[in-house]
């Protein structure tokens, strides 16, 4: 694509922006007070990305984000790490106890909101802002480390060395774990039953402890623990990094480039994007049509309506995850046409980290409303975790304020997040291309396809959000 062509794209798209909104938008604008149809936001976002791409090509001639220098900000007392671990274990135990012994209603019990809102949606944002907070609080990691410490102290002989983590496994256990969690969140019929959630949490903890005992606490939690890996991805975008003895400051976003490329790296992040996408897609009228057809087909096999619907949603989830991964691999095939000397697998891994800000943008955009409203429920649930009328902090009667932010403001936050996330992804991809190809021209040419991927993901996200209000 020549510079003239790129300018033509911008001019063409800008010209369409001037076309007045028409009646075709009537169904989309009603829920929020927007001055233009929502699809125009997708066009505007695409233009921002194209302009960002041109600016990167002109103003970013050499790699800058392949190394992330950091400096210590604060030294931490030795006790902080075990105290955080103990806090994580305490929260885990309380949540599981609430699930098993508390009120069976999902709205009255602490566990569902803690898991599906605060943990799954809040922690990615906290990880981006404050670094890998989950690593500090990770209850199974704390138990694993405490066990190792006790064995070393009490045992007469030195504990056996853990087995080396099999490289071929890579991030696949974490990637599969993320899809499994979202399956429970969106599809599993017992997802609103706190006791079933508590049992699943215990089962997951057991799997983690077994894995850690075989392959070592750090190796397992960095590569195979779905939540450790997932939240760790977003922590790479953070300007803060925690170690046991210090808090370090660093340039935001660039630590993503140091993401360890292992088998399943690209699949892991695509699965994260795909699962969020399915959550949005499952609200679409189009999915309702597909789901009913699939459900009818499964009912024809003799399944009950409920089971048939679960199977339909399972196929939908796997289909969307597969589509997102396939779209990324198609884009990588495009990149490969510029530099055929590198394999598609190598390129998919080399550019996988560029999807991390997109995954975060998807999480924030899709769940911002949930966090903004349902997240407030933690005030009364924390005060009455079992839902039995207790009032530990005097906030058990707090209510959710649905007026503090309007639906229109939520939409603008979603759009801004998506555009920013994709622009950062472009910058990461451009920087990696410069490091891989050396010459600016070759790097820029290879990124035409990455630009298409970014524009595709942006438009997909805005389309998915278009049915929410």
């Amino acid at each position: 694509m020549t510079r003239r062509t790129a300018l033509a794209v911008v001019a063409f798209a800008a010209a369409f922006l001037l076309v007045p909104s028409t009646a075709v938008a009537h169904g989309l604008v009603g829920k929020q007070d927007l001055p233009i149809p929502r699809w125009l936001f997708a066009w505007a976002a695409a233009i921002v990305l194209v302009v960002s791409f041109v600016a990167l090509a002109l103003l970013w001639p050499s790699p800058r984000w392949q190394r992330t220098p950091e400096r210590p900000l604060v030294r931490l007392p030795r006790l902080v790490d075990p105290l955080c671990g103990a806090l994580g274990v305490a929260i885990f135990v309380l949540a599981v106890y609430a699930g098993l012994a508390g009120n069976p209603s999902a709205n009255e019990n602490l566990l569902p909101t803690l898991v599906f809102v605060i943990f799954w949606v809040g922690l990615p944002i906290l990880s981006f802002l404050f670094g890998d907070v989950f690593r500090a609080l990770n209850p199974w990691r704390a138990i694993g480390r405490l066990s190792g410490w006790l064995v070393a102290r009490v045992g007469r002989a030195a504990p056996p060395e853990p087995l080396p983590y099999p490289r071929r496994l890579g991030y696949w256990p974490a990637a599969i774990g993320i899809v499994a969690f979202v399956w429970v969140e969106l599809i599993y019929s017992g997802r609103t039953d706190p006791s079933k959630l508590a049992l699943l949490a215990l089962a997951y903890a057991v799997v983690q402890l077994v894995g850690m005992s075989i392959y070592g606490v750090d190796a397992w939690s960095r590569r195979a623990d779905a939540f450790g890996v997932y939240f760790g991805l977003f922590a790479r975008l953070s300007p803060l990094r925690w170690t046991r003895r210090a808090l370090h400051g660093r340039r935001p976003f660039s630590a993503a480039a140091e993401f360890e490329v292992l088998p399943g790296a690209a699949a892991l992040i695509c699965f994260a994007i795909g699962t969020t996408s399915f959550d949005g897609f499952s609200l679409h009228a189009l999915w309702t049509l597909i789901a009913h057809s699939l459900q009818d087909a499964f009912r024809g096999l003799g399944l009950t309506p409920g089971t048939a619907l679960q199977w339909a949603f399972t196929i939908g989830l796997l289909g969307v995850v597969g589509l997102v991964y396939g779209f990324y691999r198609l884009g990588i095939e495009g990149v490969r046409t510029i530099a055929p000397d590198r394999s598609a697998g190598e390129l998919a891994g080399a550019f996988a980290h560029t999807l991390i800000p997109i995954a975060l943008a998807y999480v924030i955009a899709h769940y911002f409303g949930l966090l903004a409203y349902q997240g407030q429920a933690i005030a009364y649930l924390a005060s009455d975790p079992l839902g039995d009328g207790t009032d530990l902090f005097g906030t058990a009667n707090a209510a959710i304020d649905y007026t503090w932010i309007s639906a229109t403001a939520v939409w603008y936050v979603q759009v801004a997040t998506l555009v920013t996330g994709h622009a950062i992804a472009l910058a990461l991809a451009h920087d990696r291309a410069l490091a891989l190809y050396g010459a600016t021209q070759a790097a820029v040419r290879s990124q035409y396809w990455m630009l298409a991927i970014m524009v595709g993901f942006t438009c997909l996200a805005l389309w998915l959000l278009s049915e929410q209000g």
Binding site: V24, H26, G27, W39, V50, L286, T337, A452, C459, W463
Partner: protein
């Protein structure tokens, strides 16, 4: 008829795809032109 009656809705849905299609079209066109130019160069030689 139902499809036509809801054309506004479906067109608006398709509008989300337009920027990607436009970009892919330009990429394909660029590749086609590059290939044609290289063929022309070979023919000239």
């Amino acid at each position: 008829m139902l499809v036509l009656a809801h054309a506004g809705h479906w067109l608006a849905q398709l509008a989300y795809l337009a920027p990607l299609l436009l970009l892919l079209g330009m990429l394909a066109h660029g590749r086609w032109r590059a290939r044609r130019e290289s063929r022309d160069d070979e023919a000239d030689e």
